[in-house]
Symmetry: C2
Subunit: 254 residues, 2 copies
DNA sequence: CAGTGGTCTAGACCACCGT
DNA sequence: CGGTGGTCTAGACCACTGG
């Protein structure tokens, strides 16, 4: 039964299912090496291309990694970092220090957090001007923070401010902001008292995957936070998080 | 330059990049048909397998659909439904009628929502007993709601209740609950006053993909909500949402 | 160095679907 | 019916990596 067979399940599905079962059952554990492509060819009596179709499938599901050279393929580990983004006991939490949720999230987990900050002035990109209530081509300040864990990129937070609001403030400088950007704006009379989070997911573009060092099969989690003073938006933060590393937690009163 | 070439970008990447560019630029719009595999072979002078590698890549990125028979492949549409899960003006919103956030979300979008409810009594699955503060093998009631839009599955909400709390209530019946499950529990003295949402994402398992009718390249959004009376958990809802259809919105005071 | 995965070709049969 | 994508094989060369 060689070629385009039948109403049965495709061979590469059979192989993929078998491997998936071995992973789910614990026979193959996170970190373990998978059998070689050659071994799988022999084990299931199929061609290499068919084995590779199966392996590609599992990769796209995020179950295994690719593997170059002698390294072989490995069962992927899924270890989520919890980020508390809202907490009804301390309302200030969600709007506090610029990066405290990030820092707190990894605190005490043996991770060594760091970040790289870039600041730019530009015309508001698509969707941001609208959210900030500005004209389509208005100037905004973009603070881009690449967050690293033990040197590995794991999320990108891009904050946009109306230029007129933050010019001549430390927000324009690519350094940590004492008491956070929100606190700094508060000192200048813009006291944020409300924010809206939009959470969504999709597969990354190749460029986004490259920036986060993402391998195939890992989706990204998007969190877009708009901060308001009453009804005036003063800040939009667009955060892109590796889906295999993050969990957002909202704790709220009913 | 036939086989395993070079330090350049792989051929299938070149083809994928070209198609991606045509999609991003608007040359190919959502709903349009892609060129045939044969046409792409001719256009880029590569073998069919190489063309298919490129197309598989774009599929895994969620940019295009598969396509059988004469139907051809199509550029995918990404249209998000907004679900307001928390709203500081109406704290009751997030905990109100069992399915009001779902119904409200699609209200007035020309969608025709419906749902299929199943109820079962079983031992608490992994992670649920813990969240409910029950013994490992305690009995729970599972209310599973498959939510449909115009007949298409788009999310699955599984609610777990301690059996002792809800036996002999309408929660055990596979019908809509008047005033919602939360309201019903409140009438019986269990007034939920706090909840915690955990949001994460990953690629679906084949079974999950089948249940939601998901094609490759579409991640799922997970929302796990634990409802409390003070510190006693009374309900856990695990919602699995198609990533290409949903956006969760949390509106909060600072 | 030796073995692994990465890339590529040429050719084949079949299931499905619109016309 | 005829063309599309789905599945599969056999064989080839190369790049990368660990020992």
């Amino acid at each position: 039964m060689p070629a385009g067979t039948v109403g049965e399940t495709p061979l590469y599905q059979v192989v993929a299912d078998a491997l998936r079962a071995r992973i789910r059952s614990g026979d193959l554990r996170p970190g373990d090496r998978l059998p070689t492509e050659h071994e799988l060819m022999a084990e299931y009596g199929v061609s290499r291309n068919t084995v590779r179709l199966a392996l590609n499938l599992l990769t796209a599901e995020g179950l295994i990694t690719g593997g170059r050279g002698r390294a072989g393929r490995v069962v992927r580990l899924r270890e989520l970092i919890t980020i508390h983004v809202a907490h009804h006991d301390e309302p200030g939490r969600g709007a506090g220090n610029e990066d405290s949720p990030f820092i707190e999230a990894v605190h005490g987990h043996g991770f060594r957090p760091s970040q790289e900050i870039e600041v730019a002035v530009r015309r508001a990109p698509d969707g941001i001007a609208e959210k900030l209530g500005l004209a389509k081509d208005a100037l905004v300040v973009l603070r881009s923070r690449l967050r690293l864990l033990n040197g590995d990129a794991c999320s990108i937070a891009d904050s946009y401010y109306p230029y007129e609001l933050v010019k001549d403030t430390p927000i324009m400088e690519p350094y940590d902001i004492k008491r956070g950007a929100i606190g700094l704006l508060a000192e200048r009379g813009w006291v944020q008292n409300r924010y809206v989070d939009e959470v969504s997911t999709r597969m990354p573009s190749p460029d986004e995957a490259r920036r986060l060092g993402l391998s195939p099969g890992i989706p990204v989690l998007f969190q877009i936070r708009t901060g308001y003073v009453d009804d005036k938006p003063i800040r939009v933060t667009r955060t892109m998080l590796r889906g295999d590393r993050h969990r957002l937690v909202y704790e709220l009163p009913s």
